[in-house]
């Protein structure tokens, strides 16, 4: 690697995370630490019915007996669960504001700064947004319009109040609280997130989107999202996330469950841009996320697309359980790590039904001193006749102090299964840079162009409204404005 390339790379490591501001707002917190009282406090704040509190407490007793999973290629100090606030909300949020006139202007301002205007007429055309600030949902746009079609799009807190039957039936049905310690933790202390129900035969006419913001210090965010697509329905959903720059690490442990019934399709996209820490590896979000989708019915389809650029630590494996015959699971991922970021991310495709298909496209880009691991498991159960998987994992190394790792597991109990796996690791190529620069592009432009080209297969899976944003984010991540 020549000196000019190194200079460019060094300039990339300079950290200018543009979402790193703090909103000064009076907040109300639970007492620090995790115990039954914390859970009762959360449940009471959310005015939950008894059965919900019981559900939480059961999860908590499971969590107490569990240890964090340690198999990932990540190193970080022990998390002190007693040193975290589990609930933080701007004052006056006992009841969700009816409309924007009841929302503190500081909050509206915050979202304007983040580029997420809450007034419907200003929102990206055709995108309905639910915004979650620390532990509470602030606003949900286009609700009325969606209701006309029978679509429910609201915060999970509201769904517990208004749609208890759906919650009782589906919450925890894909990710049982006792699955592992982070799912147990989330089930015990989850605060807010989105709930979506698409009725039979309805194609949701707009993108649904949730924007998560962590603001308060020393506070964990435990988002819980549940999406149910009834027979023959379709929905495309996108989540985005940012957090202020802080020197302490903060915990984000989300659970997202998707259920697709017969002939239904769910497309779930994530643009994860939590604060990644500074160039010395100080601060940043610990992102331990469990995302799992169940293709319950025949011919159903679940597609995960993720662009992971933020967080000090990313531990995340959006997965599909392909139960219905002919169901399809897809996973498209771009993970960029810079400075001291660590990402261990991938997917799990479990083929249960006949003729089930899965496709995995993973693109990992490592810069600085970061470590980037793809970890995936594809399994074919006994009855998964003629199931197929295609996996492609590509890693791109920029510089010579970073690492890329690929850990694929394959487990087949059915000998009619077809598995294709392709993997590549490459360094950013000096000849490509020379070629681009000879045409007049700057060194930075050239790197950005090559990396964007490398990710294209995944970026083109994003909803159109966000594809351009995601491309910019990829470039910014390289420039160091995000890290």
């Amino acid at each position: 690697m020549n000196s000019e390339t190194l200079n460019t790379l060094n300039s990339y490591s300079k950290n200018k995370y543009k979402y790193g501001f703090v909103t000064e707002i009076d907040d109300e917190k639970s007492k620090k630490g995790l115990n039954e009282d914390t859970i009762k406090f959360i449940s009471q704040k959310k005015n939950e019915p008894e059965w919900m509190l019981d559900w939480r407490l059961k999860a908590y007793s499971k969590w107490k007996k569990m240890k964090e999973p340690k198999w990932a290629n990540l190193s970080f100090p022990e998390i002190d669960y007693q040193d975290i606030y589990y609930y933080s909300a701007p004052k006056g949020f006992e009841k969700k504001p009816k409309d924007l006139s009841e929302v503190d202007p500081k909050l509206i301002d915050t979202y304007n700064k983040l580029g997420i205007p809450l007034e419907e007429q200003k929102v990206l055309a055709g995108v309905a947004v639910d915004v979650v600030f620390d532990s509470v949902s602030v606003a949900t746009t286009y609700k009325g319009e969606l209701e006309k079609l029978g679509i429910i799009f609201c915060s999970i807190g509201e769904a517990i109040q208004k749609h208890p039957d759906l919650i009782k039936k589906y919450l925890g049905s894909v990710i049982p609280p006792g699955d592992h310690s982070f799912s147990a933790l989330n089930s015990a202390v989850f605060t807010d997130g989105s709930f979506v129900y698409i009725p039979e035969g309805v194609k949701c006419p707009m993108e649904l989107s949730t924007y998560f913001r962590i603001n308060a210090e020393n506070t964990g965010q435990f988002e819980r999202t549940l999406i149910i697509a009834d027979k023959g329905s379709y929905v495309s959903y996108l989540e985005g996330c940012t957090a202020p720059k802080r020197d302490d690490n903060q915990l984000h442990a989300a659970n997202v469950e998707l259920i697709a019934l017969e002939d239904a399709e769910i497309k779930y996209s994530t643009v994860q841009n939590w604060y990644p820490g500074d160039e010395d590896g100080k601060g940043g979000i610990y992102n331990f996320v469990t995302k799992r989708g169940l293709c319950a019915g025949k011919n159903s389809k679940i597609s995960w697309t993720q662009v992971e650029t933020g967080s000090a630590i990313t531990w995340k494996y959006p997965s599909c359980i392909l139960k219905g015959d002919n169901s399809i699971g897809e996973f498209y991922s771009v993970a960029i790590t810079n400075n001291f970021q660590q990402a261990d991310t991938g997917t799990k495709m479990t083929h249960i039904g006949k003729n089930t298909k899965s496709k995995i496209i993973s693109k990992g880009i490592s810069l600085g001193k970061s470590q980037n691991t793809y970890r995936g498991e594809v399994s074919f159960l006994r009855k998964a006749d003629k199931a197929r998987n295609y996996t492609q994992c590509d890693s791109l190394l920029v510089g010579n102090q970073c690492g890329a790792h690929t850990v694929p597991y394959i487990d087949s109990k059915n000998n009619t299964a077809v598995i294709e796996h392709e993997a590549s690791t490459s360094k950013i190529n000096e000849d490509q840079l020379y070629y681009c620069r000879q045409r007049g592009l700057s060194h930075e432009e050239a790197v950005s162009l090559i990396v964007n080209g490398f990710c294209k297969q995944v970026l083109q899976e994003l909803p159109m409204e966000f594809a351009v944003e995601a491309q910019k984010l990829v470039s910014i991540s390289l420039e160091g404005s995000v890290g």
Partner: protein, 246 residues
């Protein structure tokens, strides 16, 4: 003087390649450099373009009143230097349209010209492509990716015609081309030639010079130019090879 190379010596990894090389090119001239393999022809092209693998030991290069060594790769390109590569590299996922659009605009920016918008650029690209007999479908593909040798060279000429350089260096553009492809490529070059731009054509074979008429032919051996003259030199090489120059 448009391009003036004076007493140029350069090395790569302890190996001296260029040795006190002199060459002058005026506006509107076409120069050909011929030489056997390993004589340093491609090194000269890369040193002109600014590739960083080479160490300049001695000499200077002036290009359009600039000291060339003050400019980095992209600045030289923006000043109007274009290198058609011998082996154009593949850049998967990068579409030719935004790639060339950025390239032309970075040049315009340096020249304080107005940037060209998407629509006008798409039109320009299409018309240049059809001039060169390039299928529109080829414009949808990633830069050089999965192209045959001939397609890659044609693509280089397309880029050259879009960027409209003051000095175009063609590094063994004829290698690996059949006669039909060679004709398309050389036609492209001939169409671009005006009294205001110059060409430096590097080639191993005399064949190319049947299609592009050079004003000067230089013979390069062992890192220096050993003989210069008109196109009669090319004929001499065709007949007797490089032996007698060595």
């Amino acid at each position: 003087m448009f391009l003036e190379i004076k007493d140029l010596s350069a090395k790569i990894e302890n190996k001296n390649i260029l040795k006190s090389l002199n060459l002058n090119i005026n506006k509107g001239e076409v120069h050909a450099i011929m030489g056997p393999n390993g004589s340093g022809k491609s090194t000269l092209a890369n040193v002109l373009a600014g590739k960083e693998d080479y160490e300049i030991l001695n000499g200077r290069i002036n290009f359009k009143d600039n000291d060339l060594f003050d400019l980095n790769i992209e600045e030289r390109a923006q000043e109007g230097m274009f290198l058609a590569f011998q082996y154009p590299v593949e850049i998967p996922g990068v579409n030719i349209t935004p790639f060339l659009h950025s390239a032309i605009n970075s040049k315009r920016k340096r020249m304080n010209e107005e940037e060209i918008d998407n629509l006008s650029f798409a039109k320009l690209l299409k018309s240049k492509a059809s001039d060169l007999g390039i299928n529109i479908d080829m414009l949808k593909r990633s830069v050089n990716t999965g192209f045959s040798g001939g397609e890659k060279k044609r693509y280089e000429i397309l880029q050259m015609s879009i960027l409209n350089p003051d000095l175009a260096i063609l590094d063994e553009t004829d290698s690996g081309l059949d006669i039909d492809a060679l004709k398309i490529v050389t036609d492209g070059v001939n169409k671009l030639k005006t009294k205001d731009n110059s060409f430096l054509i590097i080639t191993h074979y005399q064949k190319l010079l049947d299609y592009i008429k050079p004003d000067y032919v230089h013979v390069m051996v062992n890192g220096s130019i050993v003989k210069s003259g008109g196109s009669e030199i090319a004929a001499e090489i065709e007949k007797d090879g490089f032996q007698k120059f060595q």
